[in-house]
Point group: C2
Chain length 469, copies 2
Amino acid sequence: MLEGLSNIVGQSNVLTGSAAQPYLVDWRGRYRGKAQAVVRPGNVEEVAAVVRYCVLNNVPVVTVGGNTGLCGGATPDDSGRAVVLSTARLNKIRSIDTDNDTITVEAGCILQSVQDAAREAGRLFPLSLAAEGSCTIGGNLATNAGGTQVLRYGNTRELTLGLEVVTAEGEIWNGLRGLRKDNTGYDLRDLFVGSEGTLGIITAATLKLYPLPVAQRTAMLAFASLEDSVTFLSRARQGFGAALTGFEVMAGSVLQAVVRLFTDQRIPFENESANSPWFALLELSDSESAEHAQARFEHVLGQAIEDGLLLDAAIAQSVAQSKAFWHLRESIPLAEAELGKSVKHDVSIPISQIAEFVAVTNKALQAEFPGVHNVVFGHLGDGNLHYNVAPGAGQTEGEILSLQSQIYQLVHDSVASFNGSISAEHGIGQLKVNELPRYKSELELKLMRQIKQALDPKGLLNPGKVVNV
Amino acid sequence: MLEGLSNIVGQSNVLTGSAAQPYLVDWRGRYRGKAQAVVRPGNVEEVAAVVRYCVLNNVPVVTVGGNTGLCGGATPDDSGRAVVLSTARLNKIRSIDTDNDTITVEAGCILQSVQDAAREAGRLFPLSLAAEGSCTIGGNLATNAGGTQVLRYGNTRELTLGLEVVTAEGEIWNGLRGLRKDNTGYDLRDLFVGSEGTLGIITAATLKLYPLPVAQRTAMLAFASLEDSVTFLSRARQGFGAALTGFEVMAGSVLQAVVRLFTDQRIPFENESANSPWFALLELSDSESAEHAQARFEHVLGQAIEDGLLLDAAIAQSVAQSKAFWHLRESIPLAEAELGKSVKHDVSIPISQIAEFVAVTNKALQAEFPGVHNVVFGHLGDGNLHYNVAPGAGQTEGEILSLQSQIYQLVHDSVASFNGSISAEHGIGQLKVNELPRYKSELELKLMRQIKQALDPKGLLNPGKVVNV
């Protein structure tokens, strides 16, 4: 195998032994696998040649980008049969077309470098998430990544116009179209997006660009209840229209934990509002001016305070303050990590039912596992909650983790009863592949298997992920 | 067959003879077919039972909604084997959730009734197209319809969150999720959207709603060239952001023909601007106030006039005037029809290359077919042109139509050379099914056939449409 692979990508791009190790474990250290080698092709033809060579030898191919996934989707199993294909060298920005508002990039480009290239051309590429400094756009595409701007711009899927894909047979599909409208047959693009490397290997994409906002305003909002924040969100959508680009909700207890732990941070209220049970971070992106953004902000927020819907609002008065607000939000996962392991869920619920979901699920958890601590935050604008369960007072990390599968089941069953999703933005990978049959209909799983069978009949692309065949 | 079908849907919902005739011809009278019967199931269970019964008897099923398609996608072939399945009785608005901003509707709902239901709930369902008074949302979904608001809200695909589908085996897939984020497996939804009834029968959908605009402003813009209109569009996207909801371009000669024919209409300029070579209809949807919309309008348009990019702008001063501007645009197809048949194309091109495409293609047409008249208009904001070729002075309709296949080929070859699409928003149907292999790669056609084979192995769903198997 190694010689054949070296002939394709060059010996220095076939890694084994310790050089291969970083590719065989996911970044959280939850999954470890083995592989014959890690190959780093330098262009799409080499990717295709690697796949053809692997098919010839009946060897599975596991594609990895920035290795920042949360579901083990890029880690091979421990059979040692697989070849891991790293997209690291597919890192060219191929072209930018500002009149067409598109950018064409290779799969191995770091998300931040795509954002930067767009910005240099005076445009916004709006996909934004915590791992943006190390995740690749190929991984974002493979998992249909979400992030903080979905409310306005959609998931990675909605930002994608065209793809270049290497198929399971090692053929190259050039679907790199920069068209807003194209109704010439089945939507192959969206089949590959979100398929986590199990139907084909995405090697490049043509993505949508947007105008850069002229001004942004950020506010921290204090609410008496989650219900109020949902009602306010609906008003904010009406009042701000498409200028509303972020709406992140956080339980008060979660923010309290952040500021207890990171003492250089603070909840930006002097008064008792700092002890509110719920907060939201609101971001407005204005296409006119800072003054206009400020005026709109004050109008909508002022009305909501007057109506008693909003307890209080702190409007960031500088870029530094705005960053500090976002930093609070971004510190939640760090604070969680400091506080010890928890059982994490990445769920979505129809927005109208989120408050009820949280109330019902909190109650069921307390009944079943008294004393556990709920860490609830997320992208309320998309109905996406990170609903995590941590040890309460007197409980240990070990106790919680020993209950992991029961907690998963309780929370996911509750999600299902609200017609929600057990994976809003992180994908299935290997983490949830055995959970899926509990929540998808037999029919949907059958359709998925039929498609897998049609496009990868030998089952060599990222086996054991997304759907069991 | 008839008795079996009557047992499922009731005798009065099995049409034959003259009652079936309207379903056997497309509205333009271009395609005529035959069928054993037309059935009108009243709910999804009946749809599923009809499909199962047809599968049992090896009978093709052709689904029809409002029968307003332009590519013959809903007309059966003339073998007389098929059963036509009308969605007319699947016409319930199942639910509206204003906090989740979603509406769930059955496939047979007329598009306008979906718009109306949303509006009554204080929301916007933005899909809008000429046939909205008679087309069904099921047909919009099956063809991924576009229309005039795509620039801001996307095609039907982007407006769709969930589907209910009857599969080729007559099973019911309940994928009616109202979630903005759901990454739990392959994107079946987008595979059915745009598949023109060849992979499954869409019976209901959960669709996105948006806030109603507080104010709208319309302007007719006069340009010296198509290039200038593209440059201005880019500025308008920057200046208006998401408030830019419409940008329709029209060749001056096309508008001149409209006002010559419909003498109650006029191009809204008193001066020589009325003779400009290009016009655009611009629509701004504001989330604040009429005054704000007006001020933004004047700012962006004023700057463009100052810079010489825009020759002139007529801003509608009343709803009636705004309607009159839109009426001009909407009268183009009617004027075309009055002037006799032409060879029509529904193409898209990267926006940055539209002006060159038109120049190159116009020139090639004149070289090959001297004297023909180009009727060019379309949704510039989406890169979508209706590029039609009509008889010039001294030419007859018959002469042009006798050249139809050569003209198609010249225009579509030109589209392909610009990496464009030969069907931007009308689909493939039977009109372009034999054109497709000239413009799609072998590989893409193979992937499409593999998917068709996987989901409809007997080939009974709308055979002869989209892709030949």
